[in-house]
């Protein structure tokens, strides 16, 4: 029994999962109706649904970010800006350049969405090129689009907020009529499932980890290290694009200045909370996803407790410090050492007693 418990606690997912449960438990004590899910106006309603729904963007971003961290031991800090650019590009094409509000589409919806995603992939490719081919540090390379992408989006939208008042466009961030589950949850499930399947059914997981741990040895063993690195950035860009469309659809507009703001930080945090090393190499996708929803759970909890939006980050920071500390190797070693010393002491007292 204790052996089983030990293997369970040793699992990388144990801590992230325990943290998440803890956050939820605190909620339950605070407000017993936290887990209540009911149907209002034909759609599911409740805090839990809210966490799953609103956490979608971070979860989708975390998928791409995990790959980038694993392969390059760096982070893509441009994802938030790329989200914004995707939203602007999509809305601009759907509404037509210079139109700031429309009820009819200038081009078919699919074309607009595809355009947005292609823009996002171009950003990913640009980042990937800088990192994998030119060997620029990931932080510096992605800093370029971190600053530029949002501004390019603003240019595309002629410096204004473009509204798409066309019902189907709202589906992605809200509900499809007749379906009680928020669409964003479906999108997240699909994205996560595709990437997980890709990692499980192909050797990509092994490739990414090998390149992340030892680029040179991976190349000599026959891997194209720079292409693998490039691909991770490309996927990360695409994920940012999907998240951008969801975020834009929620407010049926392209608010260049606010869409995806600070999301890059949440996505990196999600990876770290999932117990993944930001030093690259070994990674666990499920951990990052749990991390993403933990962040969202904390945000929702704070709002539910009446912490003002301005003060929420302070509390969030404290919680994050606690979680990260609990997972730090140094802290774990400290605990282990204390335990060992205790054991030694016990042994000695036992010996003395025996004598």
């Amino acid at each position: 029994m204790t052996g089983k418990l030990k293997t369970l606690t040793k699992n990388q997912l144990f801590l992230p999962f325990a943290m998440m449960v803890l956050v939820l438990l605190i909620n339950l004590i605070k407000s017993p109706d936290f887990f209540a899910i009911n149907i209002q106006n034909g759609v599911l309603y409740g805090r839990l649904i809210d966490i799953l729904n609103r956490g979608s963007e971070i979860a989708i971003l975390a998928v791409g970010q995990t790959l980038v961290v694993a392969v390059s031991a760096g982070t893509d800090i441009s994802v938030g800006s790329v989200m914004s650019l995707t939203a602007c590009g999509t809305c601009m094409l759907l509404a037509g350049y210079g139109v700031n509000s429309t009820t009819t589409l200038a081009v078919p919806l699919v074309v607009g969405l595809l355009f947005g995603l292609v823009l996002a992939m171009c950003c990913g490719a640009f980042n990937g090129f800088l990192v994998s081919k030119l060997n620029i540090q990931p932080m510096v390379a992605t800093l370029i689009l971190f600053t530029a992408a949002r501004a390019i989006g603003l240019l595309l939208c002629n410096n204004q907020i473009t509204y798409i008042r066309y019902e189907p466009y709202k589906y992605f961030g809200n509900f499809i009529p007749g379906c009680p589950v928020p669409t964003a949850i479906f999108i997240t499930v699909v994205v996560v499932a595709i990437v997980m399947l890709f990692l499980k059914k192909t050797a990509m997981g092994l490739y990414i980890q090998s390149v992340g741990i030892n680029k040179k040895a991976a190349r000599i063993s026959g891997l194209n290290s720079s292409n693998i690195c490039f691909m991770c950035y490309l996927i990360c860009g695409l994920c940012a694009g999907i998240a951008g469309i969801v975020a834009s659809s929620r407010i049926y507009s392209a608010d260049s200045n606010n869409i995806g703001r600070n999301y890059e930080l949440d996505s990196i945090l999600a990876v770290a909370l999932g117990g993944n090393s930001l030093g690259g190499g070994r990674f666990n996708m499920a951990g990052s996803i749990i991390g993403a929803y933990t962040i969202q759970a904390i945000t929702v909890t704070l709002l539910a407790m009446g912490v003002s939006t301005d003060q929420a980050p302070v509390v969030k920071a404290i919680i994050v410090v606690l979680i990260v500390t609990a997972q730090a190797p140094a802290f774990k070693a400290f605990l282990a050492e204390r335990k060992a010393k205790k054991l030694v002491q016990e042994n000695e007292t036992q010996k003395k007693e025996a004598a």
Binding site: T202, L206, Q209, S210, N214, A217, A218, G222
Partner: protein, 506 residues
Amino acid sequence: MINNVLIEMRDITKTFPGVVALDHAQLTLRKGEIHALMGENGAGKSTIIKCLTGVYERDSGEVHMEGVEGNIYNHSTMDAQNIGIATVYQEVNLCPNLSVAENLFIGREPKTKLGTVDWKTMNRKARKIMDDLDIPIDVTKTLDNYSLAIQQMIAIARAVDMDCRVLILDEPTSSLDDNEVEKLFKLMTDLKNKGVGILFVTHFLEQVYAVCDRITVMRNGTFVGDYSVQELPRVKLVAAMLGKDFDDLAAIKAEGHSSFSDEVVVEAEELSHKGTIKPFNFKIHKGEVVGVTGLLGSGRSEMVRCIYGADKPTGGKLSMHGKELKAKAPIDSIRAGMGYLPDDRKADGCIGELSVRENIILALQARNGVFKRIPIKEQNRIADEFIKMLQIKTASRETPINQLSGGNQQKVILARWLCTHPDFLILDEPTRGIDIGTKTEFQKLVLEFAKQGMSVIFISSEIEEMIRTCTRMCVMRDGQKVGEISSEEGAMTQQAVMGAIAGGEK
């Protein structure tokens, strides 16, 4: 207690998950002696040292040091340094981007009155230290300007200058040439005369008999014995290390070189890589073992990297099985049937945190391509097969490779290539830093492969090893292939090879 004892370690036990690394081991070091610590890979040499220096914490046992009260527990290398135990490892632990002087004085820089670093004094002192050691280098240049050997000497100089009483040298000579080894030995003898106790780990038997006073032999994590050099001749030493009568290396020689066919497997014509290696011709037949020899930095590694495509050739033509091979990256060479075991195991070979299984199947998976994932059952089968065949000592196939000892890591990398069933295998220093028993195994394996029709390039710093296994040797000097020595005319003797390497007239 015996007189003059500096350090006494008793009943040291250390376990890792699934493995008992040390089982009531012991070690005694006296003042003013050079003490060799011998044993095969995985015998526990590194572990007992790390227990002493605070890298690991022992599970049980006692450590006593002269002048220090009670049972010593070092929790970090810093603790060990504070009581005068300094360590120099096989891999140099210095900062390549700092100057030599900075490396010597890092953490204890001489200060000016204002509290800033006193560069003048520091450089002057550093120059004096290096002059004393008879190493004429510019101490203001960054460390990466110098060869591994010089870096090693600097690491030792740093330890010595910190007034250590115990100096631990963990395979310091595996990358040094004879001249440098001699310098190192002179330094060691000087220190010994000053009363420093030196613990010396090496795989070179000759070196043990050249400088050491006493020998401690370990086997499978246990203490075998503590002998004086006189009472333990070589044969007995080897027998003590292996725990059985040593089937002599000569046995390999007796088997002789297998005959090979006339079929040319790989041919290089005027192949070159700008800046590292001048155009060379090379030919290898099916089932042939060819050695490449030369001093460190003579271009022998560069030559094989060029053939394999690890460094893309800038000129010339390479063909395999008669067809031209234009490898853009190693994967093209692998697909054509090549394998390459790099000399720098840590930097170019191991994927540290991945498991033994993943490390073994990596090249095979790369050749299959990303979409043809090898099923996990098949992966396990391959891993188990090679762990058994090469007798890799590992807790399980899922153990991360960086928890294995050096020789076992090397075997894993070898397995990586063997499972791709290459026609042509390049082994660059496969036996460096490996104990004598495994070395023999490696040589036997090479001959075995050749018999099965594999063509092998074998590089080793130990000429004897190559004479035993190769039918032909290419001699490299200053990035150029200067000749070939064939065994058929009986010309492949140690003298002949040395002469050719040195470049003297025969």
